[in-house]
Amino acid sequence: MKTSFVLTLVGLLAVGVVRAQGPAAAPTDPQIAMIAVTADSVDIDAGKLAAEKSSNPKVKQFAQLMVSDHTSVNKKATALAKKLNLTPEESETSRSLKSDGDKNLEKLRGLSGAEFDKAYIDNEVTYHESVINAVTNTLIPNTKNAELKKLLESAGPIFNSHLTHAKELQSSLR
């Protein structure tokens, strides 16, 4: 059940990325801004739920870090979009990110205890891997505006740090 969900998530994200990668559908800067903001918001929502619901101090702390880091990145992204007079625009990728995020939340709400912690952290690992992949291979190469590109590039080390942290937690929960 869990595996199938993660596979679906990866699948949908991959479809979005592959579509976005096609020459006809290379994402525009407004779409990239929306994808970045949505990707952050999805992780903030999951983090808020885990910070409230998990009783494992390490998972809770990780979730709190996700909320504070992604909120801070989102603040920067929103401020930059405003400065550049860029209105974020929805796309297939941002829509699938949001609906997958909602599905994940729904699933997590039905779980508790160790089962919840495992599902949350497993998803964080897969999610960060997918996001890093999308940012590196699709978003950065297609971004036209230099400031937006710089923002995405600076987010790289942060997402990598989250992935390492999530993987460590994943192996400690086994």
């Binding site: 009783s55 101090p57 870090l65 801070s72 920067k76 600076s154 390492t164």
Partner: protein
């Protein structure tokens, strides 16, 4: 059930809240007992009252320690006003905790000394009562700020404004950079401190500029020497080093970030 309780007991913020009524309500009960014992001029009644005061004042120590451990976790969950109250709560506790330690020592003296000099019993009990009453006020003052960190419904006034001098080391992230002459600057970017190692002489000040997208901290690895608290994106924090030595530090949010300060 037991597993849940054990898991809760591993959370410093949980233990902090669980035991923090002791130095306030426990102390109040002990002081009432002591007042009655003094009025009755009864040494046998004074002893249990002093024991309650001793235990309650001594409990301030674990409350303080678990509070310090819980700081970063609570900081990351608090809203802006909550962070200001948290900074005030921490500053008040760090400056005033000594009242409780002094009270614990005094009540221990009041228990032991009269065994040899019985006449001192009443005067020592009165001294404990006076210091205990002051400590009770101090405890109320500390916990007043603590209760407002997460309980928005209790906030009937704006959060405390911190002057850089009053903030001291507690919330220096709010301290404007440049208020003291800075000898060296460290840039925080891409989850790195740059330069990673910096050498200064005693009395010099280093400023850290957070150019990253997320909050970071500058926290000495050995504990007490320095701790910036959360430095928000685009904010700065500075610290004056008054002691010679080598101080490795890291970010409590992203432990892979490491730096070293060498003070000659």
């Amino acid at each position: 059930m037991i597993a849940t309780i054990l898991r809760d007991l591993r959370q410093p913020e949980y233990i902090h809240v669980l035991i923090n009524p002791l130095p306030v309500y426990g102390l109040a009960v002990g002081l009432i007992g002591l007042l009655v014992a003094i009025c009755l001029r009864s040494r046998p009644a004074t002893i249990p009252a002093l024991v309650v005061v001793l235990v309650s004042a001594g409990a301030a120590w674990p409350v303080y320690e678990y509070g310090e451990q819980a700081y970063n976790g609570v900081l990351s969950m608090a809203d802006e006003a909550g962070r200001a109250w948290l900074a005030a709560h921490k500053a008040r506790a760090e400056n005033l905790i000594w009242f409780f330690y002094a009270l614990a020592i005094l009540s221990a003296i009041a228990l032991i000394v009269p065994v040899k000099w019985p006449k001192s019993s009443v005067w020592l009990a009165i001294a404990v009562l006076v210091l205990g009453t002051i400590s009770l006020g101090v405890g109320g003052y500390i916990s007043y700020a603590g209760g407002r960190i997460r309980h928005r419904e209790f906030r009937n006034e704006p959060p405390p404004q911190q002057s850089p001098a009053a903030a001291g080391e507690v919330s220096p992230a709010a301290q404007p950079a440049g208020s003291v002459p800075v000898s060296a600057r460290v840039t925080i970017q891409g989850l790195k401190y740059s330069p990673e190692t910096i050498e200064i002489t005693k009395g010099e000040t280093i400023a850290w500029d957070n150019k990253d997208l997320t909050p970071h901290t500058v926290t000495s690895q050995s504990g007490g020497e320095f701790n910036s608290g959360s430095i928000e994106a685009d904010a700065s924090w500075s610290h004056t080093f008054t002691q010679a030595g080598t101080f490795p530090y890291s970010c409590t949010f992203h432990p892979e970030m490491n730096g070293t300060i060498v003070v000659h």
